[in-house]
Assembly symmetry: C2
Homo-oligomer: 203 residues x 2
Amino acid sequence: MKTNNGRLIVFSAPSGCGKGTMLAEILKNEDYCVSVSATTRQPREGETDGVNYYFLSKGDFLQKVADSEFLEYAEYCDNYYGTLISEVDGKLSEGKNVILEIEVQGAMKIREKRPDAVFVFIAPPSISELRRRLRKRGTETEEVIEKRVSQAAGELSYAEKYDYVIVNDDLDDAVSDFFAVMRAEKLRTKYSENTINEVLKNA
Amino acid sequence: MKTNNGRLIVFSAPSGCGKGTMLAEILKNEDYCVSVSATTRQPREGETDGVNYYFLSKGDFLQKVADSEFLEYAEYCDNYYGTLISEVDGKLSEGKNVILEIEVQGAMKIREKRPDAVFVFIAPPSISELRRRLRKRGTETEEVIEKRVSQAAGELSYAEKYDYVIVNDDLDDAVSDFFAVMRAEKLRTKYSENTINEVLKNA
């Protein structure tokens, strides 16, 4: 493994865990970027191809599926969404750490394909706190909130399949946890072969 | 695993890597302590039983070996040295992270017995820098220095069997690396079962 390559980070969190705010903080560090997904849905006003999404026709998308160009893909509300291998590997080879924001089932598909990825799950401090946060938004009915809460509980059962679980109680702590994880991952022996060779080289 | 237990840290470094200085910095944090070894050698002036070593008679030492009370032990210059399981587990159950400063072969004996331990190897920036540091001490002949350098190179071949390799180039960076490793280790999913249960409990 080239040491100057970035690391792929699979990043999942139930709705209401503050994932967006955490990501915004992390992305202030220019060593990090997000992976831009491909989709067959129509661009909305203000969305730019290659920034928000790669907008593809259904035919093009399915051709890329057939050509195994996707790390993972899924159909959602009659549209396809997927992560292009070229997108991820291109940014990794630039030395960027690439964050793949993805739900739990998509994440599990990546587990076997990319054993080099760091899997990070963001959890709420508690289910009751998650409910409180969703209510505070004031944008959803009680019924929708309860649906999201029970979905979150289901997603939490996947947490143990990730490498790390970060509880987002305090934003600064959670972001520091994330960077500590990335610092430690760089020191893991399996990624340090070059380090050891460097040390020995200069005899 | 009880979350309020400390972690066992196996800490190895070739001579001249600044392990002592690093340990002194780490031990300023009261969540950390070192494991006190047992030995059959005579106490030197100023050494206190239970602080520098547990001083045992050869008979007592061998009885404890027979009773499987050691995590590891070795004979060196006609004396026995070893790590008592009771010493390590006692401090862990007090919530302390216990650092076991040990050479590579002793460390490897612990690998299988304690899969819960964090294995950290401290490396010099380069072999030539290691040689420079040993010379700077001015306490050893050139012959002894070369012997230590070649021993260090041999020990470095064990580095890949550790979980983490920290290059001690700058002391502050190396100590920060160590604490980042410990912070990340706490977030690893295999030690987070209680975290996830806590989150789900408060529905």
